[in-house]
Amino acid sequence: MELVEAIILAVLAASTPLLIAATGELVAERSGVLNLGVEGMMIVGAACGFAGAWLTGSIFIGALFGIVAGTMMSLIFALMALGLAVNQVATGLALTIFGVGLSGLIGARFVGERITPAVHLSIPGLTDIPLAGRVLFGEDAFVYVSVALVVGVWWFLYRTRAGLILRACGDNHVSAHALGYPVLRIRTFAVMFGGACAGLAGAYLPLAYTPFFIPGMTAGRGWIALALVVFSSWRPGRLVVGAYLFGTVTILQLHAQGWGVGIPSQFMSALPYLATIIVLVLLSRARSGGSTAPAALGTVFVPDR
């Protein structure tokens, strides 16, 4: 039972950054913008988040630093892809290349430093319940925020007028524009939300997952978050399932390495990446009839005047 609880806790911890980053990207993509720079925004969020926490001693300020850094990165993307109508795929790649370098530059000063990681909730009585107690009532704030975030995004997209307009921009920007909605402004806000989430997800890594910063510590999580959005068919509910499934694969392969299964560790480490490919293929095949992606995803929009 101890082991089961430990595994569930580890899965939640491994899934949370993916869930946060993917939720943000889902909103951006729902508005019709494909921002491939998630990895870059995350890694800058990680470096700035750690810097903030190390300088002030506050995890909360660290997380804010991460959010602001991610948002600033996304503004560069918005300026390029929305303001200058540059190809979104190329801009996203540039953002990632830039972000990896920038985070190394910011983080170099902090390599080898340690901080006190985010505290876990503790409610006497509730947290001590066997098995479920620590899972439900003993997490760090990021985990609760991630769940609130995905519920909030679901409510926004499907239960508010603003969410409907945002989805309209993603499905048909010409019609949305003709109805008088400011497509580019709405998309800019969606991209900024995606950046804020990616920054927070990145900050989670050095603030709660491991209490130190290493260059390149996102290790492709931003790309996996992008794959999760495809996996979810652009729906928040399925995103939760995808993120936790993915976290489970990651943690199980780590445990399998620990149990000394006679498979080289590198092969186990490759599993999450291979799983992503397989899932993408299976899902794309299952939907071969019609695509569920927002119809205008990744297309350039320059309003007629």
């Binding site: 200058l84 540039a94 830039f98 109805l179 909605y181 992503t276 490919i277 794309s284 939907r287 005047r305």
Partner: protein, 363 residues
């Protein structure tokens, strides 16, 4: 008043010519600011980056050596991007090529195998790179899975495979437990062009590749198909061009070139297989491809320029303690400016007064 983008009636050829130069100029201005923030003398730093490497023979040769894989990979990527196929996993195809070629070098080590070892390694590497690139291409064509994500995921897989091989089965028994194969035999090594220098045969091969790509794009039907499928997919469909077949083809060619670049790097400047054989060539090559405007000759020039930043970055680190990450920031910023300036080929800015704006009709 508001600044808005407006589509030009036709693409501006003037801007098409000067846009890479504007981008480089803007990047240098940005770097000056960055150096100043880092507390380094911007003029000295720029000198270390862009002038110093051009002043001695060793560095000049080293620029050509670094440009070799960049140009080779970027040529392949440019074919993909022209056909609107997004291969961003060249780094993985580079590593797999290196692994496949090294396999043969390791197997023939210490035997009396002759001069055919190196050609066999090159062929194996190109084939392995092509096969590895076909995985995302087939996933895309057969199942519709995003080639961007699958090709990128395979980079991590290739990295782990290489790591396993040099720490496990292929590790040099006399290597003091370092994760590396033994030094390749002379017959498994890319020959130097000048004894005692750095230039090797790979630089000649890459020039041939550039020439071949230029002919392919400008003079053959296939090259025409590639360009039409990317630029005007509808016209290509009416023309009866098979877009899926072109995705497979461009991916295979770019994978083969990346694999070839991988083995040339390992059997040339490095001399053995080890982790970290690439400082991100596969990703930097994306920048090279765009900076060179997806044109073979442009890519050759862009590759030399980006190689200069690698060498300059190393020299700036040694001479002025400027962190190596500055080079990556530099490359990212450069790509931003290149893309932004390219946008002005198709669009222009226009000032409009706010009252001309369409009022929101439906509330």
């Amino acid at each position: 008043m508001q600044l808005v983008l407006e589509k030009r009636a036709e693409r501006s050829n003037t801007i098409a010519l000067v846009s890479p130069l504007i981008a480089i100029a803007l990047t240098i201005v940005t770097m000056v600011i960055l150096f100043a923030i880092l507390g380094k003398n911007p003029l000295l730093a720029l000198h270390a980056y862009f002038i110093a490497p051009l002043t001695d023979s060793y560095s000049l040769q080293e620029i050509a050596v670094k440009a070799t894989p960049l140009v080779m990979i970027a040529i392949g990527l440019s074919l993909c991007y022209l056909a609107n196929a997004w291969n961003i996993g060249a780094e993985g195809q580079f590593l797999i090529g290196a692994v496949a070629g090294s396999w043969f070098a390791v197997k023939t080590q210490g035997t009396d195998a002759g001069a055919w070892v190196l050609p066999a390694m090159l062929v194996l590497a190109a084939a392995a790179g092509a096969l590895y690139a076909l995985i995302p291409a087939i996933c895309k064509v057969k199942f519709g899975a995003s080639e961007i994500l699958t090709s990128l995921m395979l980079v991590y897989v290739a990295d782990l495979l290489l790591d396993y091989l040099v720490r496990g089965p292929w590790r040099d028994p006399h290597g003091f437990n370092f994760p590396t194969t033994a030094e390749f035999d002379p017959v498994a090594t890319v020959p130097l062009l000048i004894e005692g220098g750095r230039l090797h045969l790979g630089s000649i091969i890459v020039l041939l590749v550039v020439a071949a790509a230029a002919i392919l794009l400008a003079r053959t039907i296939k090259g025409f198909e590639i360009r039409v499928v990317g630029a005007a997919p509808r016209a290509a469909r009416f023309g009866g061009f098979n877009a899926n077949q072109l995705i497979i083809l461009t991916f295979a060619v770019s994978g083969a070139l990346a694999g070839l670049a991988g083995i040339i790097e390992v059997a040339g400047p490095v001399g053995h297989l080890q982790p970290g054989i690439s400082p991100g060539y596969g990703f930097t090559a994306i920048i090279v491809a765009f900076l060179g405007r997806l044109n073979p000759l442009g890519i050759l020039i862009a590759g030399l320029f980006l190689a200069l930043t690698f060498i300059g970055g190393e020299q700036a680190q040694i001479a002025m303690k400027i962190p190596l990450d500055v080079t990556k920031v530099f490359q990212g910023v450069l790509l931003f400016y290149v893309l932004a300036c390219d946008s002005l080929i198709l669009y222009r800015f226009k000032l409009v007064s706010s009252n001309q704006q369409v009022t929101r009709g439906v509330g």
